[in-house]
Amino acid sequence: MNGHRLGVDVGGTNTDAVILDEKDDPIAKTKTPTTENISSGILDAVDEVIDQSGVSVGDLTYVMLGTTHATNAITERRGLNEVGMIRLGAPATESIRPLLEWPDDLAAAIGNNTAILDGGHEFDGRQLNEFDEEQVRDCVRSFDHVDAFAVASVFSPVRDDHEQRVLKIIREEVGPDVPVSLSSEIGSVGILERENATAMNAALTSVAAEAANAFIEAMDERDIDAQLFFGQNDGTLMAVDYALEYPIFTVASGPSNSVRGAAYLSGIENGIIVDVGGTTTDIGALTDGFPRESSVAVEIGDVKTNFRMPDLIALGIGGGSIVEQRDDESVTVGPESVGYRLTDEALCFGGSKLTATDLEAAAGTVDIGETTPDVDGDTVSAAREYIRTKIERAVDRMKTSPEPVPVIVVGGGSILVPDDLEGATQVYKPDHYEVANAVGVAIAQVSGEIDRIYSLDDQSRDEAMDDAKSEAIGNAIEAGSAEDSVEIIDIEEVPLSYLPGNAVRIKVKAAGDLDH
């Protein structure tokens, strides 16, 4: 009976859990309210699915957790580390100091400890400036009060040796336990965005440890001795140790897990995913089974960053959205929402707020709550039309061609989405749609990636591509995927303007299955 998987998704409103059998079919599922103390919410959900499925904890081989913990810490400026930020690039780069663009309160929350030191490289790997070991050592000593370090060196995606030397010095000066984030491991070319992402990563390591420990404790408490993973932004998994080091890679795991879960449950590899929650609807694109990534810098907590994030449109419409009648007779839905208070405040639950869920209850498309709310028929149709138009437009924006595409609807608020969306070949609401995110994290693969500039002066394009591919595959195997299942899942090639020797930037991602 080995080989069962437990997937848990901790969202802002609900904690979902599923158990998949050895064929990865869902055999138990639950949705429980997220609790202040995450660990107890996880336990409630886990107990429920174990109970439902009848599997013994010894049958669980893998346990996967998706969480928005890190995202919330940034938006709420809560639990963030004080970070020592070291940039190597002087005498270049000094005209834009680190944190210049950050909101003051977020910069203050991570402590405003910054330095720009000698070092870094040119685009072709030549040294920009000599590395000054004494200068770095003095700087690290002056930052001895910080909780974590973030290091960003100019063109470290091309050559990371100066960042590695700083790491060594930090280890010598402050020991092995202080978290150190290196920008070459976090982001791509564009030093400000990469440095921002690296600083956020360093700021999040304590919060990540808290979430990981809650997860580990919950598993220990139930004697679950399975291998533990975290879901990450690209819809693949990372080991707990890796999540502790790179918490920034979990900030968008929620929507990515939904996309992957929707793909798995529907058996569709390419299409548009509509994930309807209590307050918002996330619309993403599914490309060959994976979430399509955003091609522009993504802002997190009002700060520009440049690491891998899914391409999403978020609409302020969900099951708890409040329906409002304007003076001019028009009707709007959201963005205000009763959220997790739906079962107290919605009309169908005896409350006083007309919510999106009440529209469906009134229309008789769903049997929910205690009473059938008495809502004027015109209001119901106007509000449903409003929701339809918003979703159709967003679906259209996510499409890559005029041809209709499959649309897969998941999430607790799926009833809001009509079955005949314009631009859709068909609207699918697969079984277990309400826990698609927990399914998504449970079935996820393990990935590895490379993003580097190659000069085609001294090697052919094919050689550069082969090098990138084998590095990506190596990274995927290192992250835990079974060697024979690793495949290249994404290749991106960008010619670099103005540079001699036909320089090209190659990004390759590989992913593979966990051993069953």
Binding site: P91, T93, L100, E101, G120, E122, P402, V494, P495, L496
Partner: protein
């Protein structure tokens, strides 16, 4: 007029529209200028007409690869070193700094030079948009020598250039820039106040600012907001050339430039028609089916149809819903002499220049 951080935000956004898809990311230039203004104070902006005839004006710009510019940020003193090297050559301190182009990174970046030098910035430029090379300047078109010019890097290296013509200036400065790590800082086209008045395109920083503010605050149609905001400028009336969805993007590297085209399938009133926009770093020409509707030097900028934000060439992506904006350039950019430097044929587009408003 004094320019501070808030005005810079608007100028940077407007410069993305005027960059017509290229010109480098104005965001980096904006941050460099913002820190310089924080440290040295606001920048006084002068109209060309306010310059004394014998004023000494220098043009300052960053030169090189946009990809390098977002990684190896300027240190601070290097653009000043090139200004000072040209000043030394003339034995005279500059009275004002003028931008080379009003599109892309070089629209905002010179504010940092003016702030650190403590001298005014002239509300004008020599491209009226973004162009790829140093000879693409009204200054060049109307007979100003680009040299003596200086190119400098973050290590304090400065190279003085004295060339036979402005094409040679571009050729040699480009080579030096690559040796300097792919990005360098150039000071060129030393001019008198009279020469500025005769050859520069006036009011382009104000134009960028107005367009930026219009895009930022547009309630409804961005094109209509831009039209309203630029009513008083010397540019023609901005208009919507096409609305549709990107169905294909082709890009390749050729001679150090990103060259390609984007195909847009029409929506709504443009249903059943297809627009192709050709680019070489910047957007060069737009044709519907086989008819050219806009070409260089007129401005062709692709906007996100939903948000109204300008989209830079590298961010164009299959599936994007876009509106193509056209802005007719002023007469000074459309004379026979000017078209000889930057008309469609100089970029390999086989058509005569057709003014966008026709």
């Amino acid at each position: 007029m004094k320019i501070g951080p808030a005005a810079l935000e608007d100028i940077a956004l407007g410069a993305t529209v005027l960059g017509t898809g290229g010109g480098g990311d104005p965001h980096v230039g904006k941050l460099v200028a913002r820190q310089a203004i924080e440290e040295c104070g606001h920048v006084k902006m002068l109209q060309p007409s306010e310059l004394d005839d014998d004023a000494f004006v220098l043009v300052s710009a960053q030169m090189g690869a946009p990809t390098v510019a977002v990684e190896k940020l300027p240190g601070g003193p290097e653009p000043i070193s090139s200004v000072e090297r040209v000043e030394a050559e003339f034995g005279r301190a500059a009275d004002a700094i003028m931008p080379m182009e009003c599109g892309g990174i070089n629209s905002t970046f010179p504010f940092a030079v003016a702030a650190r030098k403590g001298i005014p910035l002239v509300d004008a430029d020599g491209m009226g948009r973004a162009f790829p090379e140093l000879q693409h300047e009204t200054f060049n078109v109307y007979g100003v020598s680009g040299t003596p010019a200086a190119v400098s890097d973050e290590h304090g290296n400065t190279c003085l250039l004295d060339t036979n013509d402005n094409e040679q200036l571009e050729w040699l400065a480009r080579g030096v820039t690559i040796r300097m790590g792919g990005v360098a800082y150039v000071t060129d086209y030393p001019m008198s106040g009279t020469e500025v008045k005769e050859t520069a395109i006036p009011g382009t920083m104000t134009l960028a600012r107005s367009i930026g503010r219009a895009v930022q605050t547009a309630d409804g149609s961005t094109v209509a907001a831009i039209r309203e905001a630029t009513h008083d400028s010397i540019y023609g009336t901005p208009q919507s050339l096409f609305e549709g969805k990107i169905v294909d993007v082709k890009r390749r590297t050729e001679g150090g430039f990103v060259v390609g085209s984007v195909m847009v399938d029409g929506l709504d009133s443009d249903d059943d028609r297809t627009m192709e926009v050709k680019f070489q770093n910047e957007n060069l020409g737009a044709r519907i089916d086989d008819k050219w509707v806009a070409t260089v030097p007129d401005l062709i900028t692709i906007l996100d149809r939903e948000t109204g934000d300008p989209i830079r060439t590298e961010a164009l992506r299959y599936g994007g819903r876009v509106e193509v904006l056209g802005i007719p350039t002023p007469e000074i950019m459309r004379t026979d002499a000017a078209l000889g430097v930057w008309g469609p044929k100089t970029f390999g587009i086989d058509t005569q220049f057709v003014p966008l408003e026709q």
